[in-house]
């Protein structure tokens, strides 16, 4: 039981990171109907920017950890958002009225561009950082087995919850959120009602990239390393999470993220670490056989 509790905690933390990335996939899919394959690399960029801004802050002698974390969070969100905006602007928008596969191919190209650019600019080696946040709580101690909840884990989960609350409010209650939903449902009609569709799509990429940046920073805090290649696997996992939850559905992305995180962690704990990805993808396949639109996806047909 204690072992299970510990794995549950680990799974939720990993799932939070996947979920934050998955939201970017699902949002972009909802509004422009394409899979943004470069999104995983945006997450990687977020991790690097977090690392760089952390090192800069430390080197100028800042020592107050909460202040450092807050600045790193804001800086990586802002700069990564700029990357997201730029990618959309140069690689997707010119192709928006092209054939359907064109932006998708462009996205795959963008993914290579971003990871190779990081490899050239930052080097190919894994970049470790010493633990920034240490300590934690012992929840349970039984038969020599300790269930621990570390401070990093708390920070990851709390940050995710807070951001999701803000994000949900933004989508449900603000003008921008309403415009985003309008564009998702009927772009032509949205334009007829004065919505600047191009700007709204840009903002979708900006928000998705900012959330991916948070995921990148959390990854850095949690695993203590980043590398130029980390966007690929994490991106595929988060994309899987978005599909599992029902692509286009925001709560679905989060639920899918948690599900993938838990499946992976529990499978590694009870069966084998080597096959954790096989387990995650198998569950995806099984779910899609019975629920083709994912856990919270809606059927394609709408009553009009």
């Amino acid at each position: 039981m204690d072992y299970f509790a510990q794995q549950l905690i680990n799974g939720i933390v990993l799932g939070s990171i996947y979920g934050l990335i998955a939201i970017g996939y699902t949002m972009v899919y909802g509004i422009v109907g394409m899979i943004n394959f470069a999104h995983g690399d945006i997450f990687m960029i977020g991790g690097f920017i977090a690392l760089i801004s952390f090192l800069i802050l430390v080197s100028i002698g800042l020592t107050v950890v909460p202040v450092i974390l807050l600045i790193v969070l804001l800086v990586s969100m802002a700069i990564t958002a700029l990357y997201g905006w730029t990618v959309e602007r140069i690689a997707y928008r010119p192709l928006r009225h092209s054939f359907r596969l064109a932006p998708m191919l462009s996205a795959i190209g963008m993914s290579f561009v971003l990871s190779n650019y990081s490899q050239v600019a930052q080097g190919a080696r894994v970049k470790p950082v010493p633990p920034i946040i240490t300590g934690g709580y012992t929840l349970l101690e039984q038969n020599g087995f300790v269930v621990r909840l570390s401070n990093v884990q708390i920070i990851v989960v709390v940050t995710t919850i807070v951001l999701l609350a803000i994000f949900t409010w933004l989508v449900a209650r603000t003008r921008l959120g309403r415009d985003m939903r309008a564009c998702e449902q009927d772009q032509t009609m949205a334009a007829l009602l004065g919505v600047d569709v191009d700007r709204t799509i840009s903002m979708t990429f900006v928000i998705g990239a900012a959330l991916a940046a948070v995921a990148g920073m959390m990854y850095l805090l949690y695993y203590g390393l980043v590398d130029f290649y980390m966007g690929f696997v994490a991106g595929i996992k988060a994309f899987t999470a978005a599909v599992l939850g029902g692509i286009g559905s925001l709560p679905g992305a989060m639920l899918g993220g948690l599900a993938i995180g838990l499946i992976e962690t529990l499978w590694s704990a009870y069966f084998s670490v080597e096959y954790k990805d096989v387990a995650a993808f198998s569950i995806l396949i099984i779910v899609l056989i019975f629920l083709p639109t994912g856990l919270l996806g809606r059927p394609e047909v709408e009553k009009v």
């Binding site: 309403r178 415009d179 309008a182 449902q185 334009a191 009602l193 009009v304």
Partner: protein, 248 residues
Amino acid sequence: MTATSASPLLAIRSLRAAYGKIEALKGVDLDINPGEIVALIGANGAGKSTLMMTIFGKPRARAGRILFDGRDITDLPTHQIARLRIAQAPEGRRIFPRMSVAENLQMGADATDSGEADRAAGLERVLTLFPRLKERMAQRGGTLSGGEQQMLAIGRALMSRPRLLMLDEPSLGLAPLIARQIFDAIRTLNRQDGLTVLIVEQNANHALRLAHRGYVMVNGLITLAGTGAELLQRPEIRAAYLEGGRRA
């Protein structure tokens, strides 16, 4: 056809538009004066809906000019045209199916940055015209009946306090009673609020009785124009659009 009025609210000059290689508008001239209801009638595929959409730049005009209140809007981005307070209840209604009725109406209000007081007054007006919507405020747009969706589409357009309201086949697919309610609402808006309306209809009888002036469109060209009463008397109109035969 030339402009007769000194300053039409909307002036369309030699407008051409096409979908790919298919030319849908072949040089259309049309005027709408402030405070007028203008009906545009014609058979399926004549280009009526295309004309309405081309005013919004979807598709873009290939040639010709569109002037709104004297200003050339031909090349303006669609959303900026909407912000000039030109509103459309388009073909197929295009309600946002996964937004509530209240949010659909709010989308209309968002089109023009009106203040909170204006928004509340606009909402009040819409709900007075279409009391049915009041009971449906929290319901999703996609779950409304056809007539309710049409009311919502018109209500949403009205929420932007339009200077020009364009209605594309507002009676299509509706029970006669509901259709009459909608025509009554349009007449009320025109008489009480001085709203300028362009209405596209296949139901020529209804539309020409409602309108001050009408245009007949055939294959992308305006072939006839006149007051509503005049057009109703024309034998070729009676034959083509009124007495059962709906020849293209």
